[in-house]
C-alpha cells in the first residue's frame, strides 16, 4: 500500500496518457477549449522567466530610486517594467549586503515568485533542498559552490504564506562600465534564489 500501487494489478497509465486524459475530459465536458492549454504553455517562457528578475536587479543596481521602490514594493516596481503574472501579487525583494545574505525556500510546497524567477527548477523543489537549507544553509550553499565568509549572516526565508520572495544579489566588482543590459546578463536564476552570486554560474 504505497499509494501508487494498483491493488487490482492493472497497469498504471503513463503520466503522459494520464495528463492527456484529464485535458481531453475537460474539453469534452465543455470546460476547456482545445487551444487553451497549448496557449498557456506557449506563454510560460516569456512571462515567467528569470530574465525578468535579472532586468529588475540590473535596474536596481543603476537606479537608486528604483532600488528603493523595489525594496518597498517589488510587485509595483516589477510592474514599472511590465513584469507581472501568476504568483506575483505580493512579491518582496530581499537585498544582499556585505553583512547579510538571503536565501529562499518553500519547505512545504515549492512557492516561488514566478514572474521574476520563472517556474522553479527541480533542485529547488527537491526534498533535499527543502529539508536541508533551513537547517544547514551554509553547508548547502557551499556544496552548491557558494562559499560565504563566516562574517556573513545568512537569512533563510521560508515561503510559507502569500509572500513571494526574490533576492537582489550584490553587484559584482569591476562592472562600473557595464550597461544595464550587460549587467542583467550577470544575474542568474540561482542568484535570484540566493544560492549563487551574480556573475557566477552555478557549478
Amino acid at each position: 500500500m504505497t499509494g501508487d500501487q494498483p491493488s487490482s494489478g492493472r497497469e498504471r497509465a503513463t503520466l503522459a496518457d494520464h495528463a492527456a486524459a484529464v485535458e481531453s475530459l475537460l474539453i469534452e465536458k465543455g470546460l476547456l477549449g482545445p487551444d487553451d492549454v497549448p496557449e498557456m504553455i506557449a506563454g510560460v517562457d516569456d512571462e515567467l522567466a528569470p530574465e525578468n528578475g535579472a532586468r529588475v536587479v540590473a535596474r536596481a543596481w543603476v537606479d537608486p530610486g528604483f532600488r528603493n521602490r523595489l525594496l518597498h514594493d517589488a510587485t509595483a516596481a516589477a510592474g514599472e517594467l511590465g513584469i507581472k503574472g501568476p504568483e506575483g501579487r505580493q512579491m518582496i525583494a530581499l537585498e544582499n549586503t556585505d553583512e547579510v545574505h538571503n536565501v529562499i525556500v518553500c519547505t512545504q510546497c515549492s512557492c516561488t515568485a514566478w514572474p521574476l524567477i520563472g517556474l522553479p527548477p527541480d533542485w529547488y523543489k527537491s526534498p533535499a533542498y527543502r529539508a536541508r537549507v533551513v537547517r544547514e544553509a551554509r553547508t548547502v550553499l557551499s556544496e552548491m559552490g557558494l562559499d560565504l565568509p563566516p562574517s556573513v549572516h545568512i537569512r533563510v526565508w521560508d515561503t510559507s504564506g502569500d509572500s513571494r520572495y526574490v533576492v537582489v544579489p550584490q553587484r559584482p566588482g569591476g562592472t562600473e562600465q557595464f550597461s544595464e543590459d550587460e549587467l542583467a546578463t550577470l544575474v542568474s536564476r540561482e542568484s535570484l534564489i540566493g544560492v549563487a552570486r551574480a556573475g557566477h554560474l552555478l557549478l
Partner: protein
C-alpha cells in the same frame, strides 16, 4: 497535517542535485499538468491554491518522496477534479488506458479548528515588530502552512505583512477568513542543537499560529 510535504529540517537527505540550464518543463505532460492546474484554480475555480497544496500533501509518504513535482501536481489535480465531481475515476482510467492512482481522502477532523478554536482576529495586527512569540505546538489533521519544525519554538516578529486567507479554513470549506501574517525570525540554535548561530530562519506565519510571550 504531519505529512511527507512538511520537509523543513528533516534529516537524511543527500546532496542537492543541480541540472544546468534546466528548462521549465522536461516533458510535454509536465507543461500540461501545470496548465491544467492553472485552469482549474484560476478559470474554473473548482478549487483554490490551499486545497491544491493539500491534495499533494495527502499522497502516501513513500510515493510523495519518490514522485517528481509535476507527478505530485498531476495527482493533486486529478484527485480534486474527481472529489469535486468534474469527472469520475472510472472516466479518467478508461480515457488514460490504465490505473490512475490518487491521493488519500481528506482526514477526519480536517475542517477544524471550528469557530471557537480560532481566535477572533480584529482589523488591526495583534503583533508588532520586535514582539516575541511562541508557535502553537498542537498539530492539525488538515492543511496548514505552519511548518512542523517551528512548533513550540520562540521567534521574533520581523515584519508585518498584509492579511491573507487562513489556510486551515480555505483548504477545507467555503468559509473564509483573513488574518494578518508576519515574517517571524527564528534562531536555529533553539530549533536544533547544532544549529548554525550565524544563520536565522524567517517564516511567514498566520496570527492563529502565534502566541505572545514576554521574554525571547
Amino acid at each position: 497535517m504531519d505529512g511527507p510535504h512538511d520537509l523543513g529540517g528533516r534529516t537524511g537527505f543527500g546532496a542537492v542535485g543541480v541540472e544546468p540550464d534546466e528548462p521549465s518543463f522536461h516533458q510535454p505532460w509536465e507543461a500540461k499538468a501545470w496548465a491544467l492546474n492553472m485552469v482549474a484554480i484560476g478559470r474554473l475555480r473548482t478549487y483554490n491554491a490551499d486545497a491544491y497544496r493539500h491534495s499533494a500533501e495527502r499522497m502516501d509518504p513513500n510515493w510523495y518522496l519518490r514522485a517528481t513535482y509535476y507527478e505530485r501536481m498531476l495527482t493533486g489535480v486529478t484527485t480534486l477534479l474527481i472529489e469535486y465531481g468534474v469527472f469520475t475515476l472510472d472516466e479518467i482510467e478508461k480515457r488514460a488506458g490504465g490505473h490512475v492512482p490518487l491521493a488519500a481522502p481528506v482526514a477526519a477532523g480536517a475542517t477544524v479548528p471550528a469557530d471557537g478554536a480560532v481566535r477572533d482576529v480584529g482589523e488591526l495586527p495583534t503583533f508588532g515588530v520586535g514582539d516575541f512569540i511562541v508557535v502553537t505546538a498542537t498539530a492539525t489533521p488538515g492543511h496548514s502552512r505552519c511548518p512542523g519544525y517551528l512548533r513550540g519554538h520562540r521567534g521574533t516578529v520581523l515584519r508585518i505583512y498584509t492579511r491573507a486567507y487562513y489556510p486551515e479554513w480555505r483548504a477545507h470549506s467555503p468559509r473564509k477568513r483573513r488574518e494578518f501574517t508576519y515574517a517571524v525570525e527564528f534562531d536555529p540554535t533553539e530549533l536544533w542543537s547544532n544549529g548554525d548561530p550565524d544563520q536565522t530562519v524567517v517564516v511567514e506565519l498566520f496570527e492563529s499560529y502565534m502566541n505572545r510571550i514576554e521574554m525571547p
